[in-house]
């Protein structure tokens, strides 16, 4: 039959490559974790934002197995980069990944019908396949029975049942894997319908000749090419005669009134039905269309048109309260630790440039990164837990109507909510959004949500410039003060801007791309704390690598800008005024003058590219307040800012109006270099991050300008 590639099966070294393929929620990740433990390498496939996971295992007999965990797929027909990459790996077309010796197909026994669709496609490829049956315990609990032996006979490939969390069946699986290398190709699963047989055969032959594909891979490729004319289908890469045959076959089928895709998909599901008949046994009481009763009962509550929302918002409130409450203490510890380290440096490193660089540049940068870490770890942990239980899809279901009005996806909600803590985990969490357009829009607007790094800026400005007046209350009980109202307004401004811009992008920039929502609502499962922890560590590592390096380098640059040229005889505030940072503040002053800002705010804006909160410590240096972390220090800083008089105009530098404008600018402007770096990685290029900087700066400038001038006209908040 087909010629199998055995190059990577070198007997001497005994290394083999196994690709793990399966539906999302099939227990694929649990199996991968159980097989490889923490020996995982996570990255991206070059040039695309598809996650690449690899784990290596050495067996007792010296065999080395490399497991490649491919993204969760429902089908191999290329609809998105996920499927495209998986296809390329399985066909051996990628230079960065060797052709798998065995394909490990994870099949969820409790959802056999849909899972076997992908299996039927994998069996087309002619590569040795081993089916791993997960969740058979769930099937038994439902009162059904599944016959693994019959499944092996029906599919013609080995079947191993495992309970991955308990590691049951793993040794047998490894044995079967080793034995499967070099085995003959499994039989083709489905029966090719008469009407399309000829067309496939012709194309298959041409693919074998022109592209040196073996018989079975040529067959699989022929079916895919005839399936659809998607922009993702690899037709452009094909030779001229292949393209010619595809065109003529499509034309001929159209003339005969045959829909190729329907024919293929129906034939596959016919095969699946025959397999299910042989392997799945349900007593009469368990009929096909009584949905999993436990699931249905939970859904009745969690997806209730009223209580569903109450529970969802309640849950989100609890989760975010927990994130802020639990994250605060470790963040403070980290800040203390960094301060102590700074003290040690001061003691042991002689005064000079090196000490300043280490203290203000390096420690400052590391400290800023680390102080965000507790919150981000917790955020990733909770997101992963919610994802594992199956609740995340329900949340998306509940929120989709609201989100789709502005071109977003139900799954955009949690990433946007996460952006209230930090845009970076929010942007990383958009990976679960299948629709590319919705994902891109979510990424573009996520930084408009007020993150926790803006909080210190809001706090400083409101406490110093917004009078503590009562806005609303009953009798002697004040319910809302002006500073509190200002806070709420700032958060709402960010949200309104995010939704408004999303709508605008949906209607203009990304118009015409049809949105899709098609999504499985997976059965509820107990989450695995271990899996959540693994994911948390992976994502946190990503944050430290991507954001941390940027924060560190920007911190060093800002330290340099603020300490040079040196003026040893001047006080720190005077030195800063003459430093490059001060000069830069003056340089951009003309562009921010119309917003009511002077060079001091300019220097603050430039320095807060590290993280927005750095604005506060820059103001501290400018106004000669050393301890901006403490309450007293901040109050002192506020007083000095209030008292500052512009020598040329003789007026106050900061008025309440200027303070409000500055906060509005901070709500809307892209002030965070690490977010830029993450957006570049996640969108795979400079195009979108640059666009994002441009639109956010324009938005911030325009809105701030309008507020400032309207305010001046009416004489609001002018002292």
């Amino acid at each position: 039959m087909s010629t199998l590639s055995v190059e990577s099966w070198r007997v001497g070294t005994r290394t083999l490559t196994v690709a793990i393929v399966g539906n999302p929620n099939s227990g694929k990740t649990t199996l991968f974790n159980a097989l490889t433990g923490l020996r995982q390498k996570v990255g991206n496939y070059p040039g695309v934002t598809v996650e690449r996971k690899e784990g290596r295992v050495s067996l007792e007999d010296g065999t080395q197995i490399t497991f490649i965990d491919l993204p969760g797929l429902y089908s191999l027909t290329p609809h998105s980069p996920d499927e495209l990459i998986a296809r390329e790996v399985l066909l051996g077309l990628r230079a960065d990944t060797s052709l798998p010796d065995v394909v490990l197909n994870v099949v969820d026994a409790s959802n056999l019908e849909r899972n076997l669709y992908l299996s039927s496609q994998l069996l087309d490829l002619g590569v040795p396949v081993v089916i791993v049956l997960t969740m058979s315990d769930v099937v038994r609990k439902e009162g059904k029975q599944i016959d693994t032996q019959a499944l092996a006979e029906a599919t013609g490939v080995p079947v191993v049942a495992v309970v991955a969390p308990k590691k049951e069946g793993l040794p047998q699986l490894l044995e079967v894997l080793k034995r499967s290398v070099g085995m003959p190709a499994p039989p083709l699963a489905w029966e090719v319908p008469e009407g399309i047989r000829q067309g496939i055969a012709e194309l298959q032959e041409s693919l074998q000749k022109e592209h040196a594909l073996d018989e079975r891979k040529a067959f699989a490729e022929a079916v895919t090419l005839l399936m659809q004319d998607s922009d993702l289908a690899p037709l452009e890469k094909m030779g001229p005669s292949v393209r010619q045959i595809v065109r003529s076959t499509r034309e001929q089928l159209a003339n005969e009134g045959i829909d190729f895709a329907t024919q293929v998909i129906e034939a596959r599901y016919r095969w699946i039905a025959s397999v299910c008949d042989k392997v799945l046994f349900a007593p009469k009481s368990v009929t096909q269309h009584s949905p999993l009763s436990f699931n249905e009962r939970v859904d009745k509550v969690l997806m209730h048109p009223f209580w569903g929302y109450v529970i969802f918002f309640g849950l989100m409130a609890v989760v975010f309260q927990l994130i802020f409450a639990l994250g605060q203490a470790p963040a403070d510890e980290i800040k203390d630790g960094i301060a102590k380290l700074g003290g040690l440096l001061t003691r042991y490193v002689p005064a000079g440039d090196l000490r300043d660089l280490l203290n203000d540049g390096v420690l400052g940068g590391v400290g800023t990164t680390l102080s965000f870490l507790p919150q981000i770890l917790l955020l990733f942990f909770f997101i992963s837990l919610l994802e594992d239980t199956g609740y995340m899809a329900r949340a998306a279901f509940l929120m989709d109507r609201l989100m789709s009005r502005v071109g977003l996806h139900g799954k955009s909600f949690i990433p946007l909510l996460s952006s209230f803590a930090c845009a970076i985990p929010g942007i990383l969490a958009t990976r679960t959004i299948g629709d590319r357009k919705a994902r891109l829009i979510t990424i573009l607007v996520a930084p408009l949500m007020s993150c926790s790094a803006r909080l210190p800026v809001y706090l400083l400005m409101t406490s110093a410039f917004i009078p503590n007046r009562r806005v609303f209350g009953i009798g002697s009980v004040t319910l809302l003060t002006l500073p509190a109202a200002t806070f709420i307004a700032l958060y709402f401004l960010g949200m309104a801007a995010a939704f408004g811009m999303a709508w605008l992008f949906h209607k203009t920039l990304l118009k015409g791309v049809s949105p899709t929502f098609l999504m499985e609502l997976p059965p509820y499962r107990l989450p695995s704390v271990k899996a959540a922890a693994i994911q948390m560590v992976e994502r946190a590592g990503l944050f430290v690598r991507r954001a941390g390096t940027v924060i560190l380098s920007v911190a060093i640059v800002v330290w340099f800008l603020s300490s040079y040229p040196k003026y040893p005889r001047l006080t720190p505030d005077q030195a800063l005024q003459k430093s490059y940072l001060g000069q830069l503040g003056r340089l951009i002053e003309p562009t921010i003058r119309p917003l009511g800002f002077n060079w001091k705010m300019g220097a603050g804006i430039v320095s807060s590219f590290i993280a927005r909160e750095v604005f506060v410590s820059t103001m501290g240096t400018i106004y000669n307040v050393a301890d901006t972390d403490s309450r007293a220090g901040q109050a002192d800083l506020g007083k000095r800012m209030q008292a500052d008089i512009d020598p040329t105009t003789g007026k106050h530098v900061f008025t309440p109006l200027v303070a409000v404008c500055l906060m509005i600018y901070y709500v809307l402007a892209m002030q965070c270099m690490s977010t830029v770096a993450v957006v570049r990685k996640e969108t795979n290029g400079w195009k979108w991050p640059l666009f994002q900087i441009a639109y956010m700066t324009a938005l911030a400038w325009t809105v701030t300008f309008s507020v400032y001038h309207v305010g001046l006209f009416f004489g609001w908040g002018v002292r």
């Binding site: 429902y74 089908s75 027909t77 609809h79 959802n111 056999l112 019908e113 849909r114 669709y117 399936m227 659809q228 004319d229 998607s230 895709a261 329907t262 998909i265 129906e266 599901y269 096909q288 269309h289 009584s290 949905p291 699931n295 249905e296 859904d299 997806m303 048109p305 009223f306 929302y309 899809a393 998306a396 279901f397 509940l398 989709d400 109507r401 609201l402 789709s404 139900g410 015409g512 049809s514 949105p515 899709t516 929502f517 098609l518 999504m519 499985e520 609502l521 997976p522 059965p523």
Partner: protein, 97 residues
């Protein structure tokens, strides 16, 4: 160009008689899929997820304010938007279980 063509394709495929669609079903109602309208690409996605002609579907619930539908098909819960469900034409209508 392609957009206009796809819109036309969708329009044409929806002309096929006055069949009920999946979007017309109320929670608890069942039906068999007759065929799929929409562009080739849209049809492909739906069919690969198991919504093929002849398959039995049951609407479990519909999200508030005209939100997505939760549909039981081939033993699992599939969620799709109202516009997507409107492309799934149904055979004669039967009472839900």
């Amino acid at each position: 160009m392609q957009e206009a063509q796809e819109a036309l394709e969708r329009e044409e495929s929806l002309q096929h008689g006055g069949h009920r669609t999946l979007a017309d079903l109320r929670p608890g109602e069942c039906a068999d899929v007759l065929f799929l309208a929409g562009t080739a690409r849209e049809r492909l996605r739906l069919m690969e997820m198991g919504l093929t002609p002849g398959v039995h579907v049951k609407v479990l619930r519909v999200a508030a304010f005209g939100g997505p539908l939760d549909v039981l098909v081939r033993g699992y819960q599939l969620s799709l938007r109202r516009e997507e469900a409107a492309a799934v034409l149904l055979a004669d209508f039967e009472e839900g279980s």
